[in-house]
Every structure is written in C-alpha cells, then in structure tokens.
Subunit: 206 residues, 4 copies
DNA sequence: TCCTAAGCGAGACGGTACGTCTTGTCTTCCA
DNA sequence: TGGAAGACAAGACGTACCGTCTCGCTTAGGA
C-alpha cells in the first residue's frame, strides 16, 4: 500500500536527521563558518555526495532544519510568557533561566554567535515574535500606547542579553536570582509605558 | 634625512587606509562573509599581493581597524552617557538616536549582522563597557546592590535592540520619541534595582 | 520442463539485446567514450540498475557482444577472400567495397575510431586473422617465403585504410574502381613476395 | 626590457613541459583513458589546480602538445621518404624501421592505441600527409593516374600496420629484413598503378 | 488458480574524479 | 623599498557518473 513510500521516506528522514545532528554537534565545537561539509558527512557516517543529494549547501541544511529547532524552543518557552513578565512573582522568569541552564550549550552557542548570524538573527526575531504575541494577548484587544514591536524588541534584547551574559559567565547566579533581577529591571518600565496617556505624545513629536 | 622614512610611512598608512575603506564600503553592500580579498584590493586599486603585505587575512584587516572605528564611535557616544540613563530629561537619549540616524548605514550594517559576528560582538561588548564605566562613575565608589556587568549587559541589550529595530524599520519615529520611550522603559527599573536592600537577597538564594 | 528456463532466457536475451542495440545506436551518434550508462538504459527503456544486472560496465556490454558482431561481419566477408586478392578479376574486391557501402555507417564508425580503440583493434585483428586463414589455404600446406602474419597484417592495413579513406570521403569512387586500384596495388607485390627464393634471404640478414 | 617577460615565459614553459612529460610517461604505462589529472600533476610535482591554469582538461594538454610531437617525428621521418618507397635499394626503408626501433616504446604506445584514438588518428593522418607530399614531389607536376590521397592512405596503412605488427611482436626480424619485404610488397604495385593508362579507366566505371 | 521466484524500476547511497574557486605564498620586476 | 603582476600549492566546493544495494511491483511458470 503506502508502506513502500514510507520506508523510503523514513530512510531519507533518518539520513537528513543524521546530517543535521552532525552539524549541531559541530556547531557546539567550532564556528559555523569553519565547519566543512566533509566534516558533517564524516561525522554522520555518510558520503559527501549524499549530502548534496539532500541539501544545496551548508546553509541550506541549517535553514531547512532551523525552523523545526525553533519550533521546539518556542514550544518550551511559550508557556513561560503567559504571565512571566508582568506577574508579581518570578516563577515564570525562573523557569526561563532554568530552561537556558538545561540547554546551556545550545543557547550559548547560538547567542554567542558561534552558530552564525543567520541562527542568531532567527532566534532573536523568533523570540521577539513570541513576546509580541504575548503582549497582544495581555492587551485583550485594547490599544497599547506604544507600538508592540518596539516593546517586543526592547524586551527580547533585554532578556536575551541577560541570558547571554549569564551563560557566557558560566551562570554565576541562581536562576531565581536572575529572574528576580530581571523582573525588577523590566516590570516597572513596562508598567510605566502601558499607562502613558495621550497627553504625553504631544511633547515628543511622535 | 628622515623625510624619506616619513614618506614611506605615509604611503603605507595610505595603502592600509584604502584597504580598510574598501572593506567598509563592501560591508555596506554585502555580507562580510561573502567579501573576497580580491574584491577589496580591486576596489582599493591595489594588487592582491599587496594586501598580504599588510594583513594576514580579511579578519586581520577588520580586527586591526575595528578598535579605531569603535574608538571614534565611543568618543561620540561616551558624553551621551554622562547622565543619559538616569536623567530626568531625555536630551542625552535623543542625541544617541540622532547619532544613530546620522550614521545609520554603519550602525544598521553592524547591528543587523552584515558585518559578521566579530564586528557585532565587538560593538556589543564595547557598548557594555562604556555603560559599565558610566555606572561606576555614577556610584562614586558606592556599592551597587546588583553587579554592574549584569546591569551593563541588560542596558546594552535593551538599547541596542531598540536602535536596531528602529534602523531596520527605517526610523519610523523621531529620535525624541524613541528617547522618551527608552527613558520610560529603562529608568524605573534601574531606580528600583539601585534601591534594593540586602533583605531582598535572602529571598532569592543568591 | 525446460520451457521455464527458456522463457526466462528469452526475456533476459531481449533485455540484453535492447541494451546492446541502444549502445550501437549511440555509437553511431557520438564517441564511445562519451556515452553514459544512463544514456544506454534510457534509450533501451530500462532502469539503470538493470544494466548492472547483466554487465559489469560499458566495456563489458561491448565486449560481450562484439564477437557476435564480428562473426556476422566475418561471415559476410570470408567468402570474398576465397580468391579475392590473387584472382585475375576484381569481382571479389568489388563485393568487399559493396559490403562496406551497404553498412557504411557501421564500418565508418568503427574504422574512424568512434567506437573506441577496443572495437577498432578487434576489427583489425579479426580481419588479419581472416586474411591469414585465407593465405594458409592458398598455400595448401606449402611454405610461404615470408611469414603469414606479417603478410596478413600488411594486407589488413592496406585494405582497411583504403576502405577507411573511401568511407570518410563519402565514397567518391565506385566499388569497381576501388577494387581495381586495390588489385593493382596489392597483387604484384604479393606475387613477387610469394616467389622469393632462399637466395634472397642471405642478403638481408634475416 | 623584455627579460621580464622572458623569465615568466620560461617558467610557464617549464611547467607545461613538465605536465606534458608526465603525461607521456604515464601513457607508456597505462591507457590514456585511465590516466587521471591528479596522476599527471603528481608525477610533474605540481598542484592539481596548476594544471587547470594551463589546460582545460587532459585532452587539451595532449592536443596542445601533439603537433609539436608530430613535428619532431615528421622531421625525423621526412628525409626517409625522399626515395624510400620507389628506390631500388632498401636503405631508406631500413632507416624507417631503425627509427621505429629506437623509439619503439613511443610508436608502440601510439600504434597499439594506448594513447587513445585522437593520438592514433593524428599520427595516421600526419603520416599520410607526409607520404602525399612525397608522392607529389616524385611526380614533378605530372599527373597521377590515381588520386594521390588514395595512394597515400594505402601506403600509410600498409607501412604503419607493418611497423605495428613488428613492434607488437617485439621486433622478431631485423630492420633490413622488414625493409626488404616492405619494398617487395609495395613497389611492384605502385609501379603498376603509376603506369596505368586512360584506356584502363573505361572498364571500371570511374 | 494461486504462489512463487525471477526480472525489473526506482532511487538512496558511497565513492571517485572532475573542473572551479579562493586563499596565502612566493618570485620577479618596476618606479 | 613598496607595490604590481601573476605563477603556484593547497584544499573546499558543488557536480557528474559510477557501481552497489534494498525494496516492492510485476509476471510467467509450476504447484
């Protein structure tokens, strides 16, 4: 019936998975730019020609799997944003740093730029999207005095740089501590901005 | 007597300058990674061999001039931080966005990653250093409840992402507006954190 | 009982025939060396894997069928040699050129080298063998003053080059004419050599 | 002045010579078709990329040097043809076989087809040209009853196959002997053909 | 009539050579 | 002496073709 197709598909899927796994492994060890196709295939126990059967080049391999990666990451992170940033407690923030801790190698690789600009930019923009979604839900259709993308980018920069700094310095504080500081740094400003009224606009030549 | 030496030196300086200028021009046009040494020398009207007379490779050319670049940038930005972040008014912040506006091509190139991770990371860390310096001066030897590098990285992420978003979206707001929003977002949190007392530490398992 | 085998055999034979036909067709169109296995199987409406089910490679396909080809050619040519070279008339020689004319594409392909050196060499050596056989029969057990292989190679070179020239120049003369010239060129020398006596040997340091 | 150019030229010439020498060496050892570009450059102590700096591919290397080779060969052989084929004595013919003997490896490689069809065909056609030139000079402007290219091809086939047979059988006879047999085989026929008169044409439907 | 073994198509895969491209080194000459 | 010109080695790239393999489909014979 369709088992024929399925078997071939599975074999192909397995090959692609092995290639991507090899790439990810290598990205943990060295700069993305310094990784050779032959290193990838060697690590994946595949012939170099096989690589080109599936992907045009190294960037294609990354691009073709990057979204799946971020979908996983987003899946893990999304629930954290439900209340995380504006909540009284710091539970959600703590979970964020714990998540970073558990996959510290991955996040550090991406955030420190070892995975290349494409990966870095994709993580950053995906993160900003997640935050924007969250902000919109919080507003429940109400208008924000300041445009959401601006706020989302501010938040993503603030949070990511905190995580980056934390990971690059080998996590010198507890997730609890980081979450608390983050909360204190971010929430007051967000609350202030959300409450800005129209009068304020006039003064700054929007 | 030594005018001969001097002339030679000047000639060398001129050659190096032309190489770096060519690189900067090219970085405005395409990804750093895609720029060839031959493109640089061609644009500089020099032989390719001449390049290797002065620099080991493309990265060396960038690295050898990057600090000079950032010194200029820092020189322009440093005064802005004197009071910028904690001041009541938004004058300094406005000047920051105006600076970004005037050299928008350069900053956009760097912040969007077109100049490569090295340049991006160097800008980011240099920026964090500037902020850290400023914070230390503000404290006048007094202790900060939260370590300065953490705060400096938070601030640099927050500010740079705001600038990045602004430039990538073709500066949809006035520098005034951006400075005001930034001020509202950042200052309350900073004030809160600076006032944290020791009691607070106990709760979060430093 | 054996009809089972037979049917299978026939199917296999048909497949092999189609592969060889495809190869022969392609050899008429382009250099043997430039022909791809995939071109052969495509032309034969077979899968590429099927090719390797029957032959090791392209050379194997040719080698495995080449003898059959030459058997056919030899069958057609053999009778011509009965008296051809030493006869008074040129009937047999004319038939030779007529044969070449009828299969001009094939012979031209082989003789001009389009079929590769293997085919060319095989035709040449097979042709020399045919001539050697003929010479031996003519001698009826008597000794030749000059060794037969030498003569056979001389004759095969002389004849094949005449045919080759004729075909490559689009047969500018009639078979009659070619046969007559060939006769005049070859017969006197052959007669002379056949009549050489032992005295002659002494002078040339056999 | 021009010594600059000359030095570069010489270096290039030397590189090309080394490549060609390596190819010739390899052609003595194995089939032309089986020789790899990397084998050539390795033998020539050059990088593979350097090969492509000078030649498009293996065939180009051969083609670009083949004429020089044949010019040398022709230079050595041309004088032999002054009287060789129609003279009473066999001196010239003996010299031909002695030439073949001295460069037996080269001629055997070419004639047995190890050097590929291109080389074989080029030698054969160049040889026929030499003979045609010689025939024309012999006729001193007088007309030949049979067109010269036809005769030249007959002669080149006859002679080359004799040489080929002789070399492939490890020169079982003396050059003297071969020259004498060749003379006996060829001269009577050539004389006969040269004396053919017009009456003869009518019978064969030119 | 079914069933079973063979021929075959499809296509993934490892391997090898190709021809191209860019890099970094070197040498020779010129200004 | 600095720079231009350009030959060269090194080595990764992406492509092409090869020969091998596995997996099902088809089909023709024998049960």
């Amino acid at each position: 019936m369709m088992s024929e197709k399925k078997k071939t598909d599975r074999r192909v899927q397995r090959t692609r998975q092995m290639l991507f796994n090899a790439l990810m492994e290598l990205m943990m060890e060295k700069n993305y730019a310094d990784i050779l196709v032959s290193e990838i295939t060697e690590r994946a126990n595949l012939g170099r020609a096989t690589f080109y059967l599936h992907y045009r080049d190294k960037d294609d391999l990354l691009a073709s799997n990057i979204e799946a990666i971020f979908e996983q990451v987003a899946e893990r992170i999304r629930p954290l944003f439900k209340q995380a940033l504006l909540a009284e407690d710091t539970v959600q923030g703590r979970i964020l740093f714990e998540e970073a801790q558990q996959n510290s190698q991955l996040y550090r690789m991406i955030l420190s730029g070892q995975g290349g600009m494409v990966l870095y930019n994709r993580l950053q923009s995906r993160f900003a999207e997640l935050i924007a979604d969250m902000l919109e839900k919080l507003l429940l259709g109400g208008d924000s005095p300041v445009e959401i993308p601006l706020l989302a980018n501010y938040l993503s920069g603030a949070i990511l740089f905190l995580v980056k700094w934390w990971l690059e310095n080998d996590m010198p504080r507890s997730p609890d501590y980081m979450a608390a500081v983050m909360q204190h740094l971010i929430r007051p400003g967000m609350e202030r901005v959300m409450l800005l009224d129209l009068d304020w606009y006039e003064g700054v030549g929007r």
